[in-house]
């Protein structure tokens, strides 16, 4: 991979990251752990849900695995509107 391509990919990823992050709705959560189990980079999403804080971990890929797999609809993406037109 050439260096330009590498930086472009990284830039796309980081843009996606700052455009939105995963936000928990604590009252729905029963701490089952499916979110943490399915996180490809082992972020403890469940802990975020317990504490009611968004997943702003700089490593979060915003891949959506946790959002899609939560059986109780605890997690959603929230937009930051940083790049809003």
């Amino acid at each position: 991979m050439n260096i330009k391509k590498f930086f472009r990919q990284d830039s796309v990823r980081r843009t996606a990251l700052v455009q939105g992050f995963v936000v928990p709705e604590t009252s729905r959560c029963v701490q089952c752990g499916i979110c943490s189990y399915n996180c490809p980079i082992n972020i403890d999403v469940r802990r975020h849900a317990w504490l009611g804080i968004p997943v702003k971990d700089s490593h979060c890929l915003t891949c959506g695995e946790c959002v899609a797999r939560c059986p109780r609809g605890v997690l959603s993406f929230e937009r930051t509107h940083l790049f809003a037109e």
Partner: protein, 440 residues
């Protein structure tokens, strides 16, 4: 230094300990529990059974988290409490003195009192050991019969199904969870189960469990029908574990009676979670429930008060999100039978508008069934069931929990063929815009 004792290692107990530690860094905390696995997500057992979750992920707290809470953990059973002396005795013979005590021992499954219930292969789903046993049995079993109702019965059914066991589900009547779901909702759930391969038997009551060499071999129904099976699972309800409190002279009804600070009638003794019976302003009487959220909230308030605060617990409108036959289902407020005549129930089908909420990115997919039922009061919405797509559930949750005035849309909601989803969504968005303007 204060000595705090927490009996019960479920979410209420853990939440109390976290609250205690926020206020009192140095007090001595002893956690006593008879659960060999300590604190884990009891609702998570459903997903452990289906294989969606590895066992080690059931535990929300790591060893390090426990270390940071700075507590002494005893795996033991409390056999007696002497509230006057502020002392309790364990099954190990040890006695402990406390300054403040929390009883958060939860509820346990009612047993199935029919002939044959002592056979190997008769299971329930009350704790992690039960889940492990079901998984062990399912490796060899070909057929299972499940009796009971509510969420737990379905958790067992779906767990067995996911593990390749042919499953029969016995219902005494013609509907499932009939005091919460209406006929249509029950029909949706049962139809989905049947599609997944579950054999649902209506108007069928189990009479006895048949055995062969000490193991389950089948069941016999009251009308004489026999079904061969290797597993008989039951989920017929839970009961708060109040025996210890009763024997110790604490006031109990169906649960341990507590005031709005979660204090029992004995000084310095608190109760929280499934074992506590709490005044419910919604219904005007004291109630028990078995929900994770309220157990956590009660634990937190009890913990604060044990550390010297005077925090009040106000029971919120009951709310749960669960999965019934693979359909995410939100249940909130008054939805069951026996409701006030001031209520008007509305039931409707699907709407694409549900998926047009700006902040909602659907967390579920492939739903082919949606169901919305709302209960409209004079000025507010009093309850709702949302099955399947959950795009609308956040708005409904907000409107119901905060008792938001819906007079402006009430008449339109009650019209035949009303576009419920867009009416509710528009009303919710207008409120949010108004809130945002106030903030700025």
């Amino acid at each position: 230094m204060q000595r705090y004792v927490i009996v019960g290692s479920g979410v209420a107990g853990i939440s109390a300990i976290e609250a205690l530690r926020e206020t009192d860094r140095s007090g001595e905390i002893t956690l006593i529990g008879d659960e060999v696995h300590n604190y884990y997500s009891r609702p998570g057992l459903a997903y452990y059974l289906t294989g969606e979750l590895a066992e080690e992920y059931l535990f929300p707290l790591s060893r390090n988290d426990f270390k940071n809470l700075n507590l002494r953990h005893l795996q033991a059973r409390v056999v007696s409490i002497d509230p006057l002396e502020h002392r309790l005795r364990l099954n190990t013979g040890e006695t402990l003195n406390y300054d403040r005590l929390l009883i958060a021992v939860g509820a346990s499954a009612l047993s199935l009192n029919i002939p044959g219930n002592d056979l190997a292969g008769v299971v329930k789903l009350d704790n992690l050991e039960d889940a492990r046993q079901i998984i062990r049995l399912a490796r060899k079993a070909r057929r299972a019969v499940v009796v009971g109702g509510g969420i737990t019965a379905l958790e067992i059914v779906e767990g067995l199904l996911a593990r390749g066991v042919r499953t029969h589900f016995l219902l005494r009547g013609e509907t499932y969870w009939s005091n919460v779901l209406d006929q249509v909702e029950s029909g949706i759930v049962l139809h989905k189960l049947q599609e997944e391969g579950v054999q649902v038997h209506f108007n069928t009551e189990i009479e006895k469990i048949l055995g062969n060499r000490g193991k389950v071999a089948g069941i016999q129904t009251r009308d004489g029908q026999r079904l061969a099976c290797d597993i008989l699972a039951y989920a017929i309800g839970v009961r708060p574990r109040i025996q210890l409190a009763q024997a110790s002279g604490l006031k109990t009804n169906r649960g341990i009676l507590v005031d709005n600070q979660l204090r029992t009638n004995a000084s310095d003794v608190f109760a929280a979670g499934d074992v506590a019976e709490v005044y419910d302003p919604f219904s005007g009487r004291s109630v028990i429930d078995s929900l994770w959220g309220p157990a956590r909230d009660q634990g937190r308030i009890a913990g604060k008060n044990m550390a010297g605060a005077s925090a009040h617990y106000s029971k919120p409108i009951p709310f749960n999100v669960t999965r019934l036959a693979n359909l995410t289902t939100m249940i909130i407020g008054t939805v069951g039978k026996g409701v006030d005549h001031d209520l008007v129930g509305i039931a409707r089908g699907d709407s694409e508008t549900w998926r047009q909420l700006p902040e909602a990115i659907a967390a579920q997919s492939d739903f082919d069934v949606n169901r919305l039922r709302i209960l409209v009061g004079q000025r507010t919405l009093l309850g709702a069931i949302v099955m399947g797509d959950q795009s609308l559930s956040k708005a409904l949750h907000h409107l119901i929990i905060n008792k938001v005035d819906i007079s402006a849309i009430r008449d339109r909601l009650l019209q035949a063929g009303a576009p419920l989803a867009s009416l509710i969504t528009d009303h919710y968005l207008k409120l949010r815009e108004a809130d945002a303007r106030t903030l700025h």
